[in-house]
Symmetry: C2
Subunit: 133 residues, 2 copies
């Protein structure tokens, strides 16, 4: 209604974040408590919208909500830039580990799939391999 105030539905549309997720973020205290209309509907302004987008970007980069919480405190100037760098470097490390692990998995699965010779025998060589390996 008034300038720059949007409902949760519009916020959801403009950010691509589910309404339930927005309410969930508020509940766990990662999004600020918004103003309400006379009837009790949530009304958001630019600040909250930016924060929501920030959260989503972080989530897409693989940060946990707990890490996002810390990053937000940095944005609110409660922590130093150092903290951000540390969190990010940890994140990079864990991503590299995950990539390595996934590559190993891939290799093993390709090996296993190769043993599957697509016949309709009652015994499957891949299953047998898994039972023994």
């Amino acid at each position: 209604m008034s300038d720059n105030q949007i409902t949760i539905g519009r916020l959801s549309n403009s950010t691509g974040v589910n309404i339930e997720t927005i309410r969930y973020y508020e509940k766990i205290g990662i999004l600020p408590i918004p103003h309400r209309s006379a009837g009790g509907h949530r009304l958001y302004n630019r600040f909250e919208s930016d924060r929501l987008k920030f959260i989503r970007r972080c989530r897409k980069l693989g940060f946990s909500l707990d890490e996002v919480r810390t990053l937000l405190r940095v944005g609110d100037d409660q922590f130093s830039c150092d903290t951000v760098k540390k969190i990010t470097e940890n994140q990079i490390k864990s991503i590299r580990t995950r990539i390595r692990d996934l590559r190993k998995l891939e290799k093993r699965l390709v090996e296993l799939a190769d043993q599957c010779n697509t016949n309709d025998n009652t015994s499957c060589p891949m299953i047998n391999a898994l039972y023994q390996s």
Copy 2:
């Protein structure tokens, strides 16, 4: 007590699977219901132990419990070898996608971390980048 019957604790030790996890697998029907001692303690034999190890190997390869359930039905000769191959190939595909996504993340995070010049300014360039990107 009798030959080859072991308690849940021993099964847990020999497989490295948590006692609670073993009971959980039974509850969701992925492990068969074991015999019980007179007093009601679970007693496992070789068959169940092998099945548990199989489940764990599959989990380590990134299969979901639902997929493991299907693989087990194959082991029990209810489905053909084809099914196994299909599940495995899907698994390989999804792993490759995950690897690609993680590589992108890694790249972006390294870029962001580079903007962090580790000074104690109140404004952090990485956070600013995240708020705008």
